[in-house]
Symmetry: C2
Subunit: 223 residues, 2 copies
Amino acid sequence: MPAARRSSPRDLAELATRTEALRGASLAELAWGLAFELGGDGVRTKGKVGQLIERALGATGGSSASRDFPDLGVELKTIPIGVRGVPTESTFVCAIALGVDEATPWSASWARAKLAHVLWVPIVGEGAARKVGAPFLWRPTSAQDSQLAADYDEAMGILGLGGVEGLTARTGRWLQVRPKAPDGRKRATAVGPDGEWIATVPRGFYLRSKFTGAILRDAAATP
Amino acid sequence: MPAARRSSPRDLAELATRTEALRGASLAELAWGLAFELGGDGVRTKGKVGQLIERALGATGGSSASRDFPDLGVELKTIPIGVRGVPTESTFVCAIALGVDEATPWSASWARAKLAHVLWVPIVGEGAARKVGAPFLWRPTSAQDSQLAADYDEAMGILGLGGVEGLTARTGRWLQVRPKAPDGRKRATAVGPDGEWIATVPRGFYLRSKFTGAILRDAAATP
DNA sequence: TAGGATCCACTGGTGGATCCGT
DNA sequence: ACGGATCCACCAGTGGATCCTA
């Protein structure tokens, strides 16, 4: 099995080498090699896989870093793949700063910065049988960037006009807005219909699985 | 010994009753009654006494509450008293919001709100022999409030003019400004000499022991 | 002696995502 | 199928103060 990694990769080539070494490894053996508690099953282990892969690749930050590999400008995202070879879930991108992002253009947004260069690591299968698929570095094409920008602008436009409660996950072709909170409590504030501040649930950006599925197919077709 | 208290007191009378019941109790017996780890000695137990008294009186919040007894508008402060009957330390009031408080008048300040109504609980003696002295509720007299306002205005004036690095603990007759951070690191920002933002160490307001000593004497003289 | 430095507990917010009714 | 709801780990910040040299 791949050796445990703790130091951060120095360049993209080293990151690529390390990532390739993970390919085909089962999550169980990775966890064992890093003395990582993966947890058996479902609901109480939601973020564990992502953190396991971070450690296996020597990602810095843990949290509070703007990206997983700040020196390389690369963001790491795991993506669960089902038996049919397509993503089983949408992908969380980042939180929305309500009251701030409405006035931030896509070109300067946190979301765009995170998506500018992503190392996608597919996790294939279910439960204890999950293993690492074929990872790949990705940058959005200019066409993809344009559509993401359009989705972003649409959502931020709705928020800016006081439509936070009308902005559902149905808005956006590839990039959508959904709740992002440990519970349903209204711990954030946003502009309401009449321009006043109202309490609301925190939101985040997510990529629809249609989009990540398309990225995966492109990557498979262009080795 | 006094019984363990967990619910919050409903009114000032109940708070006074509970507080009076603590008088003369040793910290060791209070801790035992509440199953509280007081810790043996010095450096690793700095805030323990305050938290013990909070629990003994049923203070709410723990943290993040604006006051210890929000419904009563009362702040709880323990104050260490040495063998000569005078405070051995200054008293921390609250943190300074650098970049905000400079523009906040004393009348609207967090510091004034905290000091508006304080339950002082003297802690008499040293080490394992410490016990609760004679607690008392206090409100600043208008003369005291004026002097505190003057100290506050002086300090905030210096900060507003970019003098953060020149504002030492020597400024202020009763209310002083001192560092407030787990380490000496510059984790806050303030306006510098040339109007630019500079990194600096977080600060807090403290009451000089001269002042708390005077309050104590007044309380002893007016039973 | 007191100004500047430091220590612990606790928790809200963030980053990692997946769960689960309709 | 997917929109809305939820779960865990981690850490910086806050609130409780006292330590410790020059």
